[in-house]
């Protein structure tokens, strides 16, 4: 089955390449669209939902030259498989947990994902590794045109693309950049950065929507406003501020290297050592420690591990991924043991790191 093949691969956003990829994990744009001839989701009957799903699937696969897309019936999936797609950022948690006919279409490289019957009839998403919002926009704009040639969108001359929630009306566009900011967290400057971003109408969230630090120091920066600004303006609004955030993070890393070198080495090598030797480990602790290791690699403190390998460990130690890789359902305790085993097998103590030699 397609999902089992995916478990062994890395999606686009974890490839660890592209501009500024030491700090920027991925760039993502999503568009919210609705069909003109159906009510929004909350007023849809079961039949409406089923009809929307089959219409979209039929029109897009047959006529819109989107043959490389694979449609997955989300309603038909096991809970574990749905969670797996959430971990890969191909569907939202809401989409996974809702009821009724719904689907997701994805391409082989996992750059595109098209959710059908989420909060809106269509949620189109394009992901790019590293900082590349313009590339993401070119791709999603073209995809949107191709879909629009086959389906009539709900569009209002004054208000633009109409969405179930008025907070998305207009462009229906959310631009997000996923950044890794461990040094700003360690130096306790992260809240200050967040507050200044909020002042310019940007939103900051944790990796999977949570607002806590627990998810490996990954944060998504995205636009709040969708109406009254063009798509290019919205891209600039986010795109212009990311280099500033990158600069703050680099300065914080320099400070740690120059002023707190011993503490930093200690933290990085302890994190690496724990990941290599733990007998059981939770997914939160794994994320936390991998974050330190990831920064250690970027700062040249760990020499025998590459960024793409660490990115892969981030996703493969997530609960659903771990269970898919082990081909069995595991409870939390069992997962903590299996996670430790998996990390041990991937981070074998051959060669040893420079950090641990220090």
């Amino acid at each position: 089955m397609i999902l089992d093949d995916m478990a062994g691969r890395c999606g686009e956003w974890l490839k660890g390449c592209g501009p500024e990829s030491d700090i920027v994990m991925s760039s993502r744009i999503r568009l919210a669209r609705n069909l003109a001839d159906y009510p929004f989701i909350r007023r849809c009957t079961d039949i409406d939902r089923a009809n929307i799903e089959s219409t979209v699937r039929e029109r897009l696969t047959n006529k819109a030259k989107l043959k490389d897309l694979t449609f997955i019936d989300v309603a038909d999936l096991q809970t574990l498989d749905r969670q797996f797609l959430v971990e890969r950022q191909l569907i939202s948690r809401e989409h996974a947990n809702s009821d009724g006919a719904r689907a997701v279409a994805i391409d082989q490289q996992e750059r595109l994902s098209l959710m059908v019957n989420e909060e809106d009839h269509l949620r189109i998403q394009v992901m790019k590794s590293g900082l590349d919002l313009v590339g993401a926009w070119d791709q999603i704009n073209d995809l949107d045109d191709r879909i629009e040639s086959q389906l009539t969108y709900a569009f209002h001359p004054k208000l633009g693309y109409l969405t179930a929630c008025p907070t998305n009306v207009g462009t229906g566009m959310r631009v997000s950049v996923l950044v890794h900011l461990p040094a700003l967290v360690i130096t306790q400057q992260i809240e200050k950065v967040f507050r200044s971003l909020q002042k310019i109408n940007l939103v900051v969230r944790g990796l999977y929507g949570e607002g806590t630090q627990a998810m490996g120091d990954f944060y998504q920066v995205s636009n709040q406003i969708t109406l009254g600004k063009s798509e290019n303006d919205l891209i600039d609004q986010v795109g212009d501020v990311i280099p500033v955030v990158i600069d703050y993070e680099r300065k914080a890393r320099d400070f740690l290297i120059n002023e707190k070198q011993n503490d930093l080495f200690e933290q990085v090598s302890r994190a690496y050592g724990t990941l290599q030797n733990a007998q059981q480990i939770s997914s939160e602790e794994t994320m936390f420690l991998l974050s330190r290791v990831r920064m250690g690699i970027n700062l040249g403190l760990i020499g025998d591990l590459e960024i793409p390998e660490v990115n892969q460990l981030f996703i493969r130690t997530q609960p659903a991924h771990l269970q898919k890789l082990r081909h069995s359902e595991l409870d939390t305790d069992q997962r903590n043991v299996e996670r430790a085993n998996y990390l041990h097998s991937q981070l074998k103590l051959d060669g040893g790191s420079e950090a641990s030699n220090n």
């Binding site: 929004f40 007023r43 939202s92 948690r93 045109d145 207009g170 929507g209 109406l227 939390t332």
Partner: protein, 171 residues
């Protein structure tokens, strides 16, 4: 210990067991209140209910106005303004027309604007009135079928087929 969400003193130490793995949180009273009331924030939802309540505060002084507004129902999808206010989601595209004036202050509040300036459909702005009519007819169809009025149901079905037949060319 400092709050994980702001710089204040953390006095609430929460262990959340609702997710897949356990989650330990250290929060100040304000952030803890927010967390416990809203739970996990979904991707786009957070602002709307806050904005709505702020938005409608002045109206509460004139309770009659609010009652009248709440009772308004979209003729196409049947959603009332009250239902929209409760759930924060609209019922159909026509709501933006039908509740236009009522939504305008909300849009200004959220977006600071009420005029779209971005992308437009390539095929031009088509008249979607007949599509809107389809939404109404399908709802009506469901109602008459529930009332077992099959004669009217077949009439409505014919109307639906006619509109669908003349719908925008998709090739």
């Amino acid at each position: 210990m400092k709050c994980q969400k702001c710089q204040k003193q953390a006095t609430f130490h929460i262990t959340d067991l609702t997710g897949d793995d356990l989650l330990a949180l250290h929060l100040c009273p304000d952030c803890a209140k927010g967390y416990l009331e809203t739970g996990e924030s979904s991707e786009d939802a957070p602002v709307i209910s806050d904005v709505m309540s702020k938005q409608l505060k002045p109206l509460e002084q004139t309770a009659d106005d609010l009652r009248e507004l709440d009772a308004k129902e979209c003729p196409i999808c049947g959603i009332s303004f009250y239902e929209f206010r409760q759930g924060g989601r609209l019922g159909c595209p026509h709501d933006y027309v039908f509740f236009g004036e009522d939504l305008d202050p909300l849009l200004i509040n959220v977006h600071g604007d009420n005029q779209h300036v971005g992308k437009q459909p390539k095929r031009g702005i088509t008249d979607t009135e007949s599509q809107t009519e389809l939404i109404r007819l399908r709802r009506q169809m469901k109602e008459v079928v529930e009332q077992e009025d099959y004669e009217q149901a077949s009439q409505i079905r014919d109307q639906i087929r006619q509109i669908e037949g003349e719908g925008p060319a998709s090739e």
